[in-house]
């Protein structure tokens, strides 16, 4: 058994090493650091973005003038005072806000539709319509109503989280809970007792399982909204103030983008691990 685990870890390490080696080989053969930045550039871009070791090139006569890799995008970002950790924190805060508001909203709607057949009949068709609209397609329309503010970045995230949270809560109540509810009712449970002690725990695994989907959707929507219209956050770091047609064009630097993507993957993984741990803790009774 232990030999098996060690074998797997070895294979994983081989896989990571092989792809890293292949990347470096490609970077070396192509030798176009502006397209495929070698590993050294990635490390430098990372160091610059966390705010260490970068000197603004406008200071002439600098003593340690070793060949520093600096591109337009890094320069633009550093000049603007953008750091990787601050951008990540801002995006994470937007994601957290979206979850904080969107999850209760979506879960309540899902519970309501799952609990009452009548509510389901009336609300489900409307929900299907609402769910079909990609949240970020609404961003400009929201902006017209609420002006250029934080609201039009947060509303699509809340919308995305809420619409994804409805379905697990709905199925949790409708499918999972019904047999427990029938049994509890037969034993005379009703009102608050029924809701708090039977319905909520029975639906919890499904609802918490949906949490992981909501998390992924929230990150995607946050990054997309920041790419479209925001002056900060990871999405803005990735596009470096370029791309979106109405802004001035900056030559984008793959080193910054790759560092940003890796940071996002790390943050997404960490939050998912947190969600899984929370789920395991809250639904310990399921396995018991």
């Amino acid at each position: 058994m232990r030999r098996d685990t060690r074998h797997r870890m070895l294979l994983r390490a081989v896989s990571v090493a092989a792809l890293a080696a292949a990347y470096m080989l490609v970077a070396w053969r192509v030798s176009r650091p502006d397209v495929v930045p070698p590993a050294g550039h990635l490390v430098e871009a990372f160091a610059d973005l966390v705010g260490r070791g970068y000197q603004l090139p406008s200071a002439p006569g600098e003593e340690h003038h070793h060949h520093h890799h600096s591109s337009d995008q890094v320069e633009t970002l550093v000049r603007g005072g953008v750091t990787l950790q601050a951008s990540l924190a801002i995006s994470a805060a937007r994601v957290a806000f979206g979850l904080l508001v969107g999850l209760p909203l979506g879960i309540l709607i899902g519970f309501f539709m799952g609990w009452s057949r009548r509510a389901d009949d009336y609300l489900h068709p409307i929900f299907v319509l609402v769910r079909s609209v990609p949240p970020l397609a609404l961003i400009t329309y929201v902006m017209l109503w609420l002006g250029h503010s934080e609201a039009h970045r947060l509303i699509p995230i809340v919308y995305a989280v809420a619409t994804t949270a409805v379905i697990p809560a709905y199925h949790g109540v409708r499918d999972v809970a019904s047999k427990y509810v029938i049994a509890a009712r037969a034993l005379g449970a009703r009102g608050r007792l029924l809701y708090l002690r039977v319905l909520l725990p029975a639906a919890a695994p499904a609802v918490l399982g949906g949490l992981r989907y909501s998390l992924a959707i929230a990150w995607m929507t946050a990054v997309g909204a920041e790419m479209l219209m925001a002056e900060n956050g990871m999405g803005n770091l990735l596009v470096g103030g370029g791309m979106w047609a109405s802004r001035t064009q900056t030559a984008s630097d793959p080193a910054v983008i790759i560092v940003g993507i890796l940071a996002l993957a790390g943050a997404g993984w960490a939050m998912d691990a947190l969600a899984r741990a929370t789920t395991a803790r809250l639904t310990r009774w399921v396995r018991a």
Binding site: V14, S15, D121, A137, W219, L228, M234, M243, I261
Partner: protein
């Protein structure tokens, strides 16, 4: 019973439309038509366009061929991305589900890609492949591939070992057992993941087209109507996207029901 449900659904939708119509009618002349757009004011904005102006706009967009052409461009991108991504994803997922060696090899990359928001890859693809079709199709494909890979993997893994052992004791093994036992049993999970992937593909393409708004497409139409801003066009485009998402989801459900009919259960 179903008649009651249909009647209630129709009632809810008609009520919603009527409420919107009344709100737009009351709002006419009362809602501000001067809107602050970040840098300047814009005049003559209909925040809540009335039904006649929406229908007029939809008629114009349809008649001039702008809307069908845009929808066709976006639809083709989604289809190309879905085809490429799901082929790769399902094949790799079947392999990782079946062989633990393949799983160990693929695992680091799958988990890295899985937690990357699909849209974050767009700037990288643009830097590598330029603006245009390749980066958009690849963007959709990478998101779709991850989702379908996980679905196929889970589907293969959820096949009860007893089935395989029973088949093996009857002499079925290797490719034959895979084709006759694993594939059919993994099919529902693969299809469920494909349904998620279709929704993801639409979200991705519309935003990718919004961010890189150059060619005629639904995202471009949205970006254009946002720049002027022209709310009727905006709402008609949003409605078109929603309709396409809805129709593709229904098609996927229908296919799913059809393909799993042999299981003898409601889809």
């Amino acid at each position: 019973m179903t008649a009651v449900r249909i009647r209630r659904a129709a009632f809810a939708l008609i009520l919603l439309a009527a409420l919107y119509g009344v709100a737009a009618w009351i709002g006419q002349g009362r809602l501000p038509d001067r809107v602050w757009m970040g840098a300047h004011y814009v005049e003559n904005v209909q925040l809540l366009p009335t039904f006649p102006s929406l229908f007029e706009e939809a008629g114009f967009l349809l008649e001039s061929g702008i809307l069908p052409a845009s929808a066709a461009v976006s639809l083709l991108r989604v289809l190309a991305g879905l085809l490429l991504g799901s082929t790769v994803g399902i094949l790799v997922g079947l392999a990782t589900g079946r062989a633990s060696r393949a799983e160990s090899l693929a695992d680091p990359w799958v988990s890295a890609l899985r937690f990357t928001p699909a849209l974050a890859l767009l700037p990288l693809f643009v830097a590598w492949f330029g603006y245009g079709e390749i980066s958009k199709v690849l963007l959709i494909a990478s998101g779709v591939a991850v989702v379908t890979l996980l679905g196929a993997h889970q589907g293969v893994r959820s096949v009860p070992r007893v089935y395989l052992e029973a088949a093996a004791s009857l002499g079925a093994r290797g490719a034959f057992a895979f084709r006759k036992i694993v594939l059919p049993l993994a099919f529902p999970a693969i299809f469920a993941s494909l349904r998620v992937a279709i929704a993801l593909a639409w979200v991705t393409i519309v935003v990718a087209e919004l961010i890189d708004a150059r060619m005629p497409s639904l995202g471009y139409l949205l970006a254009l109507s946002g720049a002027y801003p022209r709310v009727p066009t905006m709402l008609v485009s949003i409605g078109t996207v929603g309709l396409l998402v809805l129709v593709s989801d229904l098609l996927a459900l229908l296919l799913h029901a059809r393909a799993t009919r042999w299981m003898g259960r409601a889809a």
